[in-house]
Amino acid sequence: MSGMTRRSLLGAGAAVVASAVTAPAVIGQARPRVVVVGGGPGGATVAKYVARDSAGAINVSLVEPSAKFVTCFHSNLYLGGYKTFEQITHSYEALTKNYGVNHVRQTAAFIDRDEKRVRTTDNTILSYDKLVVAPGIDLKYDSVPGWGQEHEQVMPHAWKAGPQTQLLKKRLDEVKNGGVIVMIAPPNPYRCPPGPYERVSMMAHVLKASGRTNCRIVIIDPKETYSKQGLFQDGWETFYKGMVEWLGPKVHDGLKSVDPKTGTVVTGFETYKDCALVNVIPAQMAGKIARDAGLADASGFCPIDPATMKSAKDPNLFIVGDACIPGDMPKSAFSANSQAKVAAMIIRNELTGSRTFPPRYNNTCWSLIETDNAVKVGGRYEPKDGKISAAETFVSKTGETAELRKQTQEENIGWYSGITTDIFG
């Protein structure tokens, strides 16, 4: 990569540059530099919007090890057989070719907030004027007794999209009629509040469609209530009668342990032996790079200024997406994309003096329950009382017509195409 120096932070004496500076805005003065860590819906949106809207006035580097991004959103539709893996995989090529984003295919290893620079695992140094930290989540591998990273091939989580998603589908396809599937649902806060329950719906759809209606899916949930609960329970009763059982903490009396070797799940209420599949979705926290940089609080996630998406701990830094504490917004791709646009506007203003406008935040999360039967939950949000607060919310209702549910699914399909074009197109 031309113009990029590779040296360790310790040995850095000479000048370091973020990336190729090809067209300084002012002769003798380099363009301001924005470094974005993480190329998910949060980071990739900021990178695209800053690069596109500054029309070359700002140098944007996107640090992301992968060449392609597999979306968690609609990975449940892949599991349900409605989408191919290719349809949920997106390249960063448009970002680099159309908008001049410099894709640094590395993992950020260290953020030096005093010196305003980032070191990657191959010791590339990237200096920044503004840094965006958008690493998404890390899984708490020690939050489920008996389960750890070494067991994710046996009891997959599929809560980060990629090979895990493919593994879960493969394992689901192998379940024999009559088999028991256990999902260990995560505690709050976690990415995609309705995600586990949409996943259960898609599992039930696949089992039913292949005649495996004697299978049972048991959800062991640490939460008393969950997103779109009435809608999912109504949907399971209507479409998958007798196949899905949700157990809250009062009933199961706590998850005691899992044993990946024997496929056993032990709760205070019952022991499930020889499970055909156990999907463990553990507790979550902000990605390591954000925690290591001291940006997280005791919750494991990163507090932000709700008007700007700046880190509450460092005004040169922005945190968007699942890694931040988004107040009343859920952790979703829609939210991450919405937060990213506010951050991009503020960054451009601070670096090039472009106009600012009041921040706007929105979210809608669609969930597919059965073919042509989708529901949604959403709202609009504004900075208030020191957080991003809900100004107006909505949720689908039970008893909606089949036609409305079908329209909602068509909207879901349109949204996916829209948001992935907005992020990667």
């Binding site: 919405s338 949604k376 107006e392 879901n412 399909i413 195409s417 074009t421």
Partner: protein, 120 residues
């Protein structure tokens, strides 16, 4: 000629009839004369482009909103804002928009060229 997305919307909810009788229509017609702030519209448009594609490509149940006549754009958003048309996502977003902002969005999207194809 109506843009493709507008035609879809008009079909879906017999929009013309709704608008003629709706209290918002008179207001919308007036606000069409407000000259939209395109730059504000461009900023606000980022809320729309999470679903509606800037190329005007329409996929699934999300119509194109590109290259509509400005007064029609204003009338449609106003019809969501005032409850003649109901879609929770659109209703919620329209509630956050002032008439000036709706005009700004109309000016921005109205100025874009339709380059994408409609797809089901």
């Amino acid at each position: 000629m109506l843009a493709d997305g507008y035609r879809r919307l008009a079909r879906a909810g017999s929009l013309a009839a709704t608008l003629l009788t709706a209290p918002g229509f008179a207001q919308a017609a007036v606000s069409a004369e407000v000259k939209g702030d395109r730059e504000l519209g461009e900023y606000l448009s980022a809320q729309c482009t999470t679903c509606h594609q800037i190329s005007g490509r329409s996929i699934g149940g999300v119509p194109s909103i590109v290259a509509w006549p400005e007064d029609q754009f204003i009338a449609v958003i106003t019809s969501y804002k005032e409850g003649q048309r109901d879609n929770e996502t659109m209703r919620t977003i329209s509630h956050s928009l002032s008439l000036e902002e709706i005009a700004a969005l109309a000016a921005y999207f109205g100025s874009l060229k339709l380059t994408g194809q409609a797809q089901k």
